[in-house]
Symmetry: C2
Subunit: 344 residues, 2 copies
DNA sequence: AACACCAACTCTAACGTTTTCGTGTTGAAA
DNA sequence: TTTCAACACGAAAACGTTAGAGTTGGTGTT
């Protein structure tokens, strides 16, 4: 077992000082060609690589970005990570990922831990519990310590920092508008409880689309699900006595469960009822019928978040002003929607 | 902007030495109660937290585990990460995730980078390209530097370290045996090319099951797919002229595409043809018909890998001997298989 | 011969922490 | 009064690195 070699060991071997070695390796012209060659050869031979930790301590920067997300077993988040990772690596940054598991306490711990020198800045999407509690002291704390923070997807208006979001409201609006354009009139909504910001916004988009088209909002057609794990039963029960011709669901799971429930009730998708979901995941593509969705462009979101953060870290943004980037969604129409032209 | 406070600053404020502050905070009995109280109060007030980087440098350990995986937008890997994260956090370790994107070069870079002080050890699943190249010098390099490595899923026999795998062969065997038990005789296999170790092993399991049951192996019924992205067309073409009563696919995507292709060809699943896939992902559960699969227990795998690694890091394993943990798969039978009893 | 100057180094401090060893003050036993 | 332990604290080194400020010894100028 040959431990990693250090400058000190090289210096000792070659009988020069540590600083000579350091400078030689950095091609400083304080050092003679001879010595440089000797040092470089030796370093190469022993595969010398500077110790990151020591560099971090010295430079007071780690070249590492901390990502804190609610969960990782989730297609959207993984695409965001992919986007972050790509940009970060390109610019010489590394990525530490921590999961909050939607727990406020774990989010606080992660943030505190990573803030103690491990990372230069954060990209985060807050836990459900945090949104519920409305306690953001931990985020404000790290910001006040001078660490840049970029929030994405589930952002907090009260926290002042850069943000990247999609136009949830507009995406939902477009989806519902599309359904209306296909002559749907009785459109049900399956959403989450309101403290989840995205759920709320998508609900607003749904409502706005109805209002714009002079369709009255019928609260009977709106289902808000608290317990995601048992959504299937809830949705099934919900549909049993409803007369509808379309469903807009705020996520993929709800959309799939809606189709399942409706199929059970003897409805044909898309002939009897059209369905559009949110988030374009693996399931949407492969499901039969393939699911129409609002694409969130997770990778783009991650890339944007990463470059915002890195710009701050490298002081490319001089101002104190923070920006909120709103990414456009795009509607992907697949087989779960009955198109108007289909009936021609 | 109040920067994080350091021992030195506390010492200066309270007019004592740095060592006194350090000792006071650690409740050393070298320090008087009075001083301790004073220091602790001050530290609390200014929310002092020791700097991880400095600690890492001093202790020569980072309490961080490096995970290197081929891709993150992949259900199985996210479950493994989940398992690792859980165990690691419980034991006070943090997790850095790097993606190789199945590229050999990126895997090497990641490994080199993280090995220079950033992590204490690695958990990794090698890139496809690495398996193809059969070049493992980078992994052996970090091992020889004294960093423990645990490989999972896609492991390399030639690299000597702890490993966690599932019984790919046996899982495949069981699945195919199950199909045979349901009276299937003409079972097709959709696999990957052989240099992907898991594809090879699952193929072997398939073959062994046939042999055990005196069913001749028909190469015509075996499809090996190189280009995963265009698997759908390949599978469709493959099935067009085959007479079969069951399909075993080595992953979820192939299984889904098989069902789609067969449906297109007018076959009914499971009535005409039964299908079993590998990996129990989101798609399997929600697909219609829901997919029978071999469950890989990713979370368990991650948990096991993490505890193996941490045991090594904390010298709980004295021996030089490395172990390979083989986790059992379990067969999940859902609607995509026609059961024998169904026909009664 | 005195001086300046340059090349080619070495020394030192610094990043934030812990730990070993040293040291001055007290109070009590001899 | 001397001696010595106990107490409470400080100094310094160490982890690995870098950058700026010294330090040599030799050459060239006048």
């Amino acid at each position: 077992m040959k431990r990693k070699i250090t400058l000190k060991q090289i210096a000792k071997e070659l009988d020069v000082s540590v600083s000579t070695v350091s400078k030689a390796l950095k091609d400083s012209r304080e050092i003679s060609i001879d010595t440089k060659d000797k040092v470089k050869a030796f370093a190469k031979l022993y595969n010398y690589k500077p110790n990151n930790i020591a560099l971090s301590l010295k430079n007071r920067k780690t070249k590492t970005i901390g990502i804190i997300i609610p969960e990782i077993v989730h297609y959207f988040f993984t695409t965001v990570i992919q986007g972050i990772e790509h940009v970060a690596n390109e610019k010489g940054y590394n990525v530490i990922i921590c999961l909050s598991n939607n727990s406020f306490d774990k989010e606080v711990l992660n943030l505190e831990f990573l803030a103690n020198g491990s990372t230069d800045g954060f990209i985060l999407s807050v836990a459900k519990e945090t949104q519920q509690k409305e306690d953001y002291h931990h985020i404000n704390e790290v910001i006040s310590q001078g660490m840049p923070v970029v929030m994405f997807d589930r952002v907090i208006d009260e926290v002042i920092c850069d943000k990247v979001i999609i136009s949830d409201k507009h995406g939902a609006f477009e989806a519902v508008q599309y359904l209306i354009d296909q002559s749907c009139k009785k459109i049900a909504l399956i959403s989450t409880v309101d403290y989840v910001s995205v759920g709320k916004l998508r609900t607003e988009g749904y409502q706005e689309a109805l209002i714009t088209n002079d369709i009255p909002i019928n609260p009977e057609l709106i289902l808000k699900i608290e317990d995601v794990d048992h959504s299937e039963e809830r949705i099934e029960a919900f549909f049993s006595d409803k007369d509808i011709d379309a469903v807009f669901a705020v996520n993929e799971k709800f959309a799939v469960n809606a189709i399942k429930a409706l199929t059970k009730l003897g409805k044909k998708i898309p002939d009897d009822i059209s369905v559009i979901g949110f988030t374009d995941g693996v399931v949407s593509k492969s499901f039969i019928p393939s699911l129409s969705t609002v694409n969130q462009h997770g990778e783009e979101m991650g890339a944007k978040a990463a470059s915002l953060l890195i710009d701050r870290l490298e002081d490319k943004v001089h101002e104190q002003s923070f920006q909120t980037t709103v990414l456009n969604t795009s509607l992907i129409i697949r087989d779960s929607v009955k198109r108007k032209t289909d009936s021609l």
